[in-house]
């Protein structure tokens, strides 16, 4: 047994911290938060948020596991299988997380508590819905004070969502550079002329800039606020966020199955091959790389496997997320990531937020029709790909798309063919260094082959 390890991202809030012990995550509540913690429960807010499924539930363990002198109590929260970061979310996820945060703030006030933190890092998606994971986010509400987390909310939620709406959803990735919130002067400069016609943009983005450019006085009197003003403010932010929508776009991939001749029949033929493998009992977690419409990821989830639907195309993921949300699909998490450029480790000492590849540990990876995009569009070698997958999974379902395939021909039509290695023989050789080939099936009416591979040797 090892000692409890404090989570590297859990050091900012003196109210408590997350630690890992024997493979489980716990949260220590410190004495300084005792009063607020008691109020959180006695006011009925905790029960309300659990019933509304807006807070990740926990059990209270009256046991000092860290030996800390500041200890008040220990919580064992419902364990999450995978943590996603906001810069891996699609637009609709951002919006839902923002609306949840505002709902929490509004609900809290009804119970005499106020949300003191408004960062998207405190939100995770569980079974297609956003949930607050930081159970120490509320404190006793003082009606005379404005919302402490207002500026954080604007910089961490409003700013990225506005850039996504007015410029491009790809700019949501900017949050990776500014995980404490986007600087408003930068955001204001990036917003187009038409944003000047939005009263809410003027109030929440431009007004703070005008005020901050006037000289601040050191003994600024703290103006008083009221519950009604607070309710108006949160209500206004809610209608502001709710009205923000993306213009309709057609991305490279969001019509993949709908528009290609490969279409339905191809997808079904492939499913016939893959489905029995998804039923394997030693597979509990699956990652679908290049999930697209989520056809296979949803099939894996339907088999009861916890599934990561990974795609580099944010528009595809947005559609998939909305489907998951609409149908309340359990067990699937969408992740906006490009394998050739996935999320790095960031934050203090590069330890606060783990890299995508370090988090990607699953029982089975599905890599269907992605190999040609990685190898031919991005010049990744088979050996590199095999090494990456060998670190991430024990079962690999991978589709080999040969050079004769029309899609590969299309990729090659715009560039020189420097890919002499791109053949089935070299493919098998490269993967045999880490995997044994268990099955090999040709997809009906195509040259494509799907392999089922099992990792050999030690981890």
């Amino acid at each position: 047994m090892s000692d409890p390890q404090q989570h590297p991202a859990s050091f900012r809030d003196p109210a408590g911290f997350i630690f890992q012990y024997n493979g489980h995550y716990y949260r220590q509540v410190n004495q300084s938060y005792e009063k607020d913690f008691k109020l959180f429960h006695s006011s009925g807010l905790y029960q309300h948020l659990i019933t509304a499924r807006q807070l990740l539930p926990y059990v209270i363990l009256k046991k000092n596991m860290t030996g800390s002198q500041h200890w008040y109590t220990t919580l064992l929260p419902q364990q999450l299988r995978f943590i996603t970061y906001p810069y891996e979310w699609c637009f609709s996820q951002w919006k839902d997380a923002a609306l949840l945060t505002l709902d929490l703030a509004a609900e809290g006030i009804k119970y005499g508590m106020v949300l003191k933190d408004a960062t998207p890092f405190n939100v995770q998606f569980v079974d297609g819905r956003p949930m607050l994971i930081d159970s120490l986010s509320f404190e006793a509400y003082d009606e005379t004070r404005p919302w402490k987390a207002y500026r954080q909310f604007v910089e961490c939620f409003i700013a990225p969502i506005l850039l996504a709406k007015y410029q491009s959803p790809a700019l949501l990735k900017l949050f990776q550079l500014y995980p404490d919130g986007l600087p408003l002067p930068m955001v204001a400069g990036m917003l187009p002329m038409r944003s000047w016609f939005s009263m809410n943009v003027l109030l929440h983005v431009r007004l703070p800039l005008w005020l901050s450019s006037s000289k601040p006085s050191a003994q600024q009197s703290k103006p008083t606020f009221s519950r009604q003003k607070m309710t108006h403010l949160i209500g206004n932010l809610r209608s502001f966020v709710n009205a923000l929508a993306l213009p309709a776009v057609t991305s490279t991939w969001n019509n993949y199955y709908e528009e290609t001749i490969l279409s339905d029949e191809y997808a079904r033929d492939r499913m016939e091959v893959v489905q029995p493998w998804l039923k394997k009992t030693d597979v509990q977690t699956v990652a679908d790389i290049g999930a697209n419409t989520g056809y296979y990821a949803l099939a894996a989830a339907a088999e009861g496997k916890f599934t990561l639907a990974v795609d580099a195309d944010i528009a595809c993921l947005d559609n998939l997320y909305k489907e998951i949300r609409r149908n309340k699909v359990a067990n699937v998490v969408t992740i906006w990531a490009d394998l050739t450029q996935s999320s790095p480790a960031i934050g203090w000492a590069n330890e606060e937020r783990a890299s995508f590849t370090s988090r990607l540990k699953v029982d089975m990876i599905l890599a269907l029709a992605v190999i040609h995009h990685l190898c031919i569009s991005k010049n990744i070698s088979f050996a590199q790909l095999a090494l990456l997958f060998s670190k991430a999974c024990s079962w690999l379902v991978i589709e080999f798309v040969p050079k004769t395939d029309p899609k590969v021909q299309l990729l090659l039509s715009s560039r020189e063919d420097i890919f002499s290695f791109y053949s089935e023989q070299y493919f098998i050789e490269a993967f045999a260094a880490f995997f044994s080939i268990e099955e090999k099936v040709k997809v009906k009416d195509t040259e494509r082959i799907i392999f089922l591979m099992k990792k050999v040797g030690r981890d």
């Binding site: 404005p146 919302w147 500026r151 703070p208 601040p216 600024q220 108006h232 403010l233």
Partner: protein
Amino acid sequence: MMQFHLMYIDPGSGSYLVQVIIAAVLGVAFYFKTIWLRIKMFFTGRKKGQPGNQETNE
């Protein structure tokens, strides 16, 4: 200079004045909205909370 000032104000208090102004604007907007709704109700004969598909007297 702009960012420079911001760095010396703690994140909470920096937004106090902003929130007070926004709340005032919203308060005024709310006031006029309430009056507007009353006027509308007067002419349409609809009462608060009644569904909108009801026929008017016009």
